[in-house]
Amino acid sequence: MSKIHVVTRVNDEKVEFLCEPQETLLDVLRNKLNLTGTKEGCATGDCGACSVTLDGRLVCSCLTLAAETKGKSVGTIEGVADGDTLHPVQQKLLEHAALQCGVCTPGYVIAIKALLEKNPDPSESEIRYWLAGNLCRCTGYDKIITAVQDLAGQSDKFKEVV
């Protein structure tokens, strides 16, 4: 089977690769482009560890064919910080100690960033349901939710919601 030549943009840089038609974006990122920050948790689109953006839209890279990215723009965890300066989402997750083993964390950073770009002031309920596609087995989620609320500038509302 002949390989597909793909020209795309990853984290605002032009990238070219050859891939099999059935090859996923996740596998290309990890194995061909050495961008291993994007993780495989389930490979079936149920855990969110492989979250990236495709033309700004939040997608599971395990369910996206690499060939689909032709002419589009892919955003991965490696492109979130500006050099040594962390993105506010990254900073808030640090401040709230909202991570443990770290496998789900890159997916969370991408998903939270996508949420806030779409809706800069999400309610607690919007946060919870937006992030329900990202599994975390360690933290129990509370610190992640609080970190996002903090970013949305509404951390003081948290304990009032019953």
């Binding site: 079936t44 560890a49 890159p106 989620y141």
Partner: protein
């Protein structure tokens, strides 16, 4: 948060050492290590029968599949075909008999992971089907046991039950749980010169992987090195399981003379690896009019699966924890370790303890329903006393009981009494939506019950520039162990934690380590690292006292400096001077837990160094038409002794609690009647989501309660105990439906389970 000027790193809310790497996606997990150019990828071929003889295993098509370089079966294993940690009953590859659906029969190495995974599907295997026992209950009826039945008798349960005012007996089934670590099982084996093997393994137990691999390859332990910088979660699932995958990678690497990576995809991981034991629990209890338990008998049947694995110690811990926080003077426990044709169940956070605690909490709840009293009043009635009523069924005297204090404080801060009333009122006026509340305690024994495992080693080097290299036998799985141990070393030298390089667990640096398990990581490794630091520090003090002609008591480490009488110098300057004077700047450290002993023949002794405590109150809203529930509020008060790091400890408490909630409410392992696991991916196996956490979540660490024992800075272990705080949610659901149904609820309390309970037991 402690300030820099206090210059103390204990109790500091220091973030996880890898946190910055994690938010940037640059932390290297095993699968992220850059692959050598000639690496091969492995996959394993699985049994499609729960119990069968392998009549013919034809792998010709597998060998000819594109990309395949090597295929191995049991016959290709040069040494021992076993990864059983305790008994040699766990074949790495099944030889002539398969004993569970999903058991590994062969493995392949191919040029890509996809090629390897595709190739294994083209095997042609003839099975001779054999009768399979799938459930604990069926195994108990057939007397199919993997280990001898254990009994513990204390007092005279039979006459105490007979003479009690009331008697109850019943039976409840309690489901298992998949660890569902986000990073699946993985190993990369690289052949080294002279037949040696180096393996990156995602493991809680590098030393065991080392020993199993050496035996499988028929080489010595000195020729096998295991390295693990971090795991993407472990939860017990990487205690005994990783050695099978490391061994397979190593055997293929030895055969092909090329590096081999074996990474299980999620579905294979869930099919092949062991889980929390599911239980059938039967009980008989006698109690007085106020609910004081006078005598109790438990029969525990645990589904151990096809091999012993760690089931002995796990079921022992069930026996040690079916008292939870209650004084049970007349008790009889029978523990049946059932052999079934299912995957061999294994360690999972709590290690059998949660199942024992579930049992006694269930009985307490049933007593309360019978007497029509608040379950909390029955709990309080039966709590261990401080000065008397403080001997466990295994005859250990409890010296650190804080359950009264925790429950009283939590009862007040959670406004339990008022809410209990409000809920009764709400339920009286709400036909289909019912609320429920429960406050459940936790008392958890800390130490490995196998005495020899309670030891640890560490290795500390100081380089000429004053920077410090830290290594110990503990493993990092996200819990923050490496951060805590670095805090200990920073505290001893009074330097900033970022001066300390935390390094990967490596069997060539610290040998013969125990698994990072039993919540013991910081207790053991913190003490070992402290000892290593103190040995070097003593040398430095002697050197400084000698050089500056001053008494050793006048050499003081503080604020990254060393004060020597009237003068002071930077830490790194003293290090450099010591180096020039030929003082050794490297030391090992070693620790073994004192005071513990246990006689297995009588089931008595002091198996635990101390106990960790906690309690949770949860309130739920149950829709009795659908069986669904919402977790409205949870309040937790948990005992960490003097917390080494409150940020990390609260992370353990919250994460453990939610994992316990998942175990008891949403995570259901379904097996077909052929013994095939049907819930082997997150599409069907439901771990808690972001939307499932308590809508109002209040978590606090118990203040001013230093460990009575001399643990590292008087802290307490926090890995496992919080999982059992999740019991509060199960019993809140049970409480909610008790107003309309005899609440013989089975666990997990999935919507189906809740709905069935309501339908079958509706009070007319």
């Amino acid at each position: 948060m402690k300030t820099e000027t206090q210059n103390s790193h204990i109790g500091e809310t220091l973030g996880h050492d890898s946190a910055i790497l994690h938010v940037r996606g640059s932390a290297r997990f095993t699968d992220d290590i850059r692959e050598p150019r000639d690496i091969l990828h492995a996959a394993i071929g699985l049994s499609e029968y729960a119990h069968a003889t392998l009549v013919q295993v034809d792998l010709e098509k597998v060998r000819q599949a594109p990309g395949v370089i090597a295929v191995i079966t049991a016959k290709d294993i040069p040494g021992a075909n076993n990864f059983g940690a305790v008994l040699a009953d766990d074949p790495i590859l099944a030889d002539t008999l398969v004993e569970y659906h999903g058991q590994a029969i062969f493995a392949v190495a191919a040029t890509s992971a996809n090629a390897a995974r595709k190739a294994v599907l083209s095997a042609s295997i003839n099975y001779q089907d054999l009768p399979a026992i799938l459930t604990a209950r069926a195994a108990a009826e057939a007397h199919s046991y993997i280990l001898p039945t254990e009994k513990l008798d204390s007092g005279d349960s039979q006459s105490a039950i007979d003479s009690a005012c009331h008697q109850l007996s019943g039976e409840v089934n309690l489901g298992g749980q998949d660890q569902f670590y986000m990073e699946g099982q993985i190993a990369i084996a690289t052949p080294e010169e002279q037949g040696a093997m180096q393996i990156y393994s995602s493991t809680q137990h590098p030393s065991e992987v080392q020993h199993i691999v050496a035996q499988a390859l028929n080489i010595q332990s000195k020729d096998v090195t295991i390295i693990c910088r971090r795991m993407g979660g472990g939860f017990g699932g990487k205690e005994s399981q990783p050695s099978q995958f490391a061994a397979l990678a190593a055997i293929l690497a030895q055969k092909t003379k090329r590096p081999v990576k074996l990474r299980l995809d999620r579905d294979t991981d869930m099919r092949v690896t062991g889980k929390r034991h599911d239980f059938n629990i039967r009980y008989t209890v006698g109690f007085d009019k106020l609910g004081l338990i006078e005598g109790i008998e438990f029969k525990f049947s645990a589904r151990c699966g096809m091999s012993a694995d760690l089931s002995g110690a796990i079921n022992d811990r069930t026996m040690f924890h079916c008292d939870n926080a209650y004084y049970l003077p007349n008790i009889s426990i029978q523990s049946y370790r059932c052999k079934t044709n299912t995957v061999s169940n294994t360690a999972f956070r709590g290690f059998g303890g949660p199942q024992g605690m579930f049992a006694i909490e269930y009985v307490i709840d049933e007593i309360a329903r019978y007497l029509n009293k608040d379950p909390l009043s029955i709990r309080r009635k039966n709590f261990y006393g401080i000065k008397n009523r403080n001997i466990t069924p295994y005859q250990q005297k409890i010296r650190d009981n804080v359950i009264w204090r925790i429950v009283s404080e939590l009862q007040t801060t959670s406004d339990y009494q008022q809410r209990k009333q409000d809920i009764a009122e709400f339920n009286a006026n709400s036909r289909f939506q019912k609320r429920g509340i429960a406050l459940t305690p936790v008392k958890f024994g800390i130490s490995f019950t196998a005495l020899h495992l309670n030891q640890a080693g560490a290795l500390v080097h100081i380089y000429q520039d004053g920077s410090i290299h830290l290594n110990h036998g503990g493993t990092e799985m996200g819990q923050g162990l490496f951060t805590k141990v670095a805090q200990v070393v920073a505290e001893e030298f009074q330097v900033r934690p970022d001066l300390i390089k935390i390094t990967a667990t490596d069997t060539s640096k610290v040998p013969n380590t125990s698994a990072t398990a039993a919540s013991s990581g910081s207790d053991l490794n913190g003490k070992a690292a402290q000892q290593a630091a103190l040995i070097i520090k003593a040398r430095l003090i002697d050197f400084a006292a000698d050089k500056y002609d001053i008494h050793t008591s006048e050499v003081i480490f503080k604020d990254s400096r060393v004060y020597i009488g009237d003068q002071s110098l930077p830490f790194e300057d003293l290090i450099n001077q010591a180096y020039m004077a030929r003082i050794s700047l490297s030391s090992t450290g070693f620790y073994r837990t004192p005071k513990i002993h246990f006689d297995r023949t009588t089931f008595t002794g002091n198996p635990f160094y101390y106990f960790s405590y906690g309690a949770a109150v949860s309130e739920v809203l149950v829709d009795t038409l659908t069986g669904e529930h919402r977790l409205l509020r949870t309040d937790i008060l948990h005992d960490c002794g003097n917390s080494l790091n409150p940020a990390l400890d609260i992370g353990q408490i919250e994460g453990g609690f939610m994992q316990g909630v998942g175990w008891l409410t949403s995570e259901e392992l379904c097996f077909s009647d052929q013994g095939e696991l049907e819930t082997h991916a997150p599409s069907t196996y439901k771990v808690p989501l972001c939307s499932d956490t308590p809508e109002d979540f209040r978590v606090n660490i118990l203040r001013h309660n230093p460990n009575k024992e001399n643990t590292i800075y008087r802290s307490k272990a926090v890995g496992e105990p919080p999982l059992m705080l999740g019991l509060s949610v199960f019993f809140a659901i049970k409480d909610a439906i008790s107003s309309i149904a005899n609440s013989a609820l089975q666990a997990p309390a999935t919507p189906e389970s809740v709905l069935n309970t309501i339908k079958q037991n509706h009070l007319s």
